[in-house]
Symmetry: C2
Subunit: 146 residues, 2 copies
Amino acid sequence: METLAIGDLAARSGVAPSALRYYEREGLIRSTRTGGNQRRYHRSELRRVAFIKIAQQVGVSLDEIREALAELPEERTPTKADWARLSAHWRGKLEERILLMQRLRDQLTGCIGCGCLSLQRCNLINPADRLAARGTGPQMIVNPPE
Amino acid sequence: METLAIGDLAARSGVAPSALRYYEREGLIRSTRTGGNQRRYHRSELRRVAFIKIAQQVGVSLDEIREALAELPEERTPTKADWARLSAHWRGKLEERILLMQRLRDQLTGCIGCGCLSLQRCNLINPADRLAARGTGPQMIVNPPE
DNA sequence: CTGCAACTTGAAGTGAACTTCAACTCAAGG
DNA sequence: CCTTGAGTTGAAGTTCACTTCAAGTTGCAG
């Protein structure tokens, strides 16, 4: 078995065939066809699907994933080095997201004492909502100062 | 200004009025009405909306958020202690998610050397896909062994 | 060579989380 | 009082990421 039928790729990757067809329509993965028009996947597509799944775990949209994958070479099967570059890039994104979550957690922790949820710094510290003029939303958390 | 009109709550929370109406239909927040049928929000709803936004950041669905909020007392305005309990609970969820991300990051880091993305452990270490029978998907990452 | 599981397509459906629209009413400053 | 920006409703529309369906075709084990 040199190439994979859609069912094989589905079984190996844990992604439903319908989703794989969808990914293909969306330009995230590619296949060749048999004489009878059935999809056959190169083994390297397994890696692409793995990447897609991982990126989704991180909360990245398919659009962004497509953009990332576009950085892989079209003409040849991506090498380890190609994947390494991409992975390194995503490691950065992951790191960022982890930091956001940690900030969220620390805010929550810091505010458990007062129960304020730190909307606009803290409603207890700032009871009159004096900061209301300063833009909307829990700025402190999403875009912390400095 | 003792209570907030929908526009005020929207401005303060950074959530569109249409979304606030939606949240109300979905039972996530509550309002009283003026004689002329306009919504007026108690200031404590600001906290609920903040909580909703934070939970969404963590990737929680509105359904789950509603369930969490259901643990707040209906009959009285939630106290600091009420929020503290809820926040502590969510801190756990956040912590969990952070751990998942960190595991993801470490996997990615560990695999940058081989470019494998660790689908079924590692395709380099395991080139013949011998583990294919062992369930689908990047199990190692989502449900790591031990 | 046959039978049947697995594949093909386009179109339509799903659910989550909202937004937009149209037609109308309210609240409050001048 | 009057104007006007803000609010009201239900229904329909939107985007994302798929799934389901129906009707037909293919590939391979026996």
